[in-house]
Amino acid sequence: MNCLEIDQVLDDFVAGDVTPDERGAVTAHLESCPTCRAAAASVQRLFAQAKARLLPVEPEHDLWPGIAARIDAARPARRYSARRPVLAAAAVILLAAASVVGVRLAGRPSGGAMTRAHVDRAGTAAPASYEFAQARATFATARRQLVAVFQSRRGMMSPQTVAVVEKNMRAIDEAVREMEAALARDPGNADLPALLVAVYGQEIDMLQGVATMPQQLMPQQG
């Protein structure tokens, strides 16, 4: 073999992808040719560096949220369990109550803060008090059921998902507490009942998302 032929087979030689005859011929040439010996060493270094240095490369952004979203989007339609219609019904009642509260409040002559007369006629804290009380009771019932479902499933959810749900629940509960306290201080406030029902709805929506999460996205037990 001459130097040109050696150059053609150096990649395979370094990779060990040569026949015993070729190996013998290349080795014999390298022993007598310092130029080709240096070239072989250079090829060896290049491949060793490539193998050692080029992987892994972490991406600049976490790709998982995009991957999970695409997997989620491609999955079959949600399967509902026997108890989900009950939960859905609770949310429907809540929404209906919310709309009644909204209509009542929007239809008030003043359109602004309620007068003491409105409050007195209703006999409770607000003119739409019956609907509001219904909404609040429905919310409490739906929330209890949904929190129970969440608690029963939390062991099957990723710690990140549990943390996100709990963080949102804390934020919503805090908002509810603040609004209820404000309503207690200012029972004639025109806007707070509708806002409260909207916040109740947010929490129910989020918890329903957890309750109706398809089984295939949950880790298998056992």
């Binding site: 992808d17 090829v43 290049l46 490539a50 992987l55 892994p56 991406p59 295939q216």
Partner: protein, 164 residues
């Protein structure tokens, strides 16, 4: 692994965390493009999720995932045939901090990114992923002789630009 195969997304996320560096790195080295690499790495994991139930464990999971990633990259590149002019890439890869630093000092990753596409694919599959020429030929849809010629070309270009 079994949990992920059975549809456990959390278990699959754990596999993602374990292998994303290799999958993304392979995409990056094969494309030479960071944005494309992130997109293709996502594609590879989405495809892996779909195909995971069919993984029989005949090879190591990392090997299976590497093969799948290579297929994803090659399919995406087939239609594009994007050319990355070697000279322009090499010039842009050269540090601009002064005459004492020359083009020969550019790092290997950037040098590989500047290779012509087919030479880059063959070099990465051979030197980085550990493929033989037969596997490379099958993966890229080329002849074994072409794979050898492209590896030789890639190695020559890299030595030229990297030599001290």
């Amino acid at each position: 692994m079994r949990a992920a195969q059975a549809g456990d997304l959390c278990a699959f996320e754990a596999l993602y965390r374990q292998h994303v560096g290799r999958v993304h790195g392979l995409c990056l080295r094969m494309t030479g493009d960071r944005d494309a690499a992130e997109e293709l790495a996502q594609d590879a994991f989405v495809r892996a999720w779909r195909k995971l139930p069919g993984f029989r464990g005949e090879s190591a999971f990392a090997t299976w995932l590497t093969r799948l990633t290579v297929n994803v990259v090659v399919s995406s590149q087939r239609g594009k045939r994007r050319q990355a002019p070697w000279a322009a890439r090499a010039a842009s890869a050269a540090p601009a901090t002064g005459p004492t630093l020359s083009v020969t000092r550019i790092d290997l990753g950037r040098a590989i990114a500047g290779l012509p596409p087919q030479a880059r694919h063959v070099f990465v599959l051979h030197a980085v992923a550990g493929y033989g020429h037969g596997e490379i030929a099958r993966a890229l849809g080329i002849a074994v002789g072409t794979s050898k010629a492209q590896l030789h070309r890639a190695r020559k270009l890299l030595q030229e630009v990297l030599q001290p």
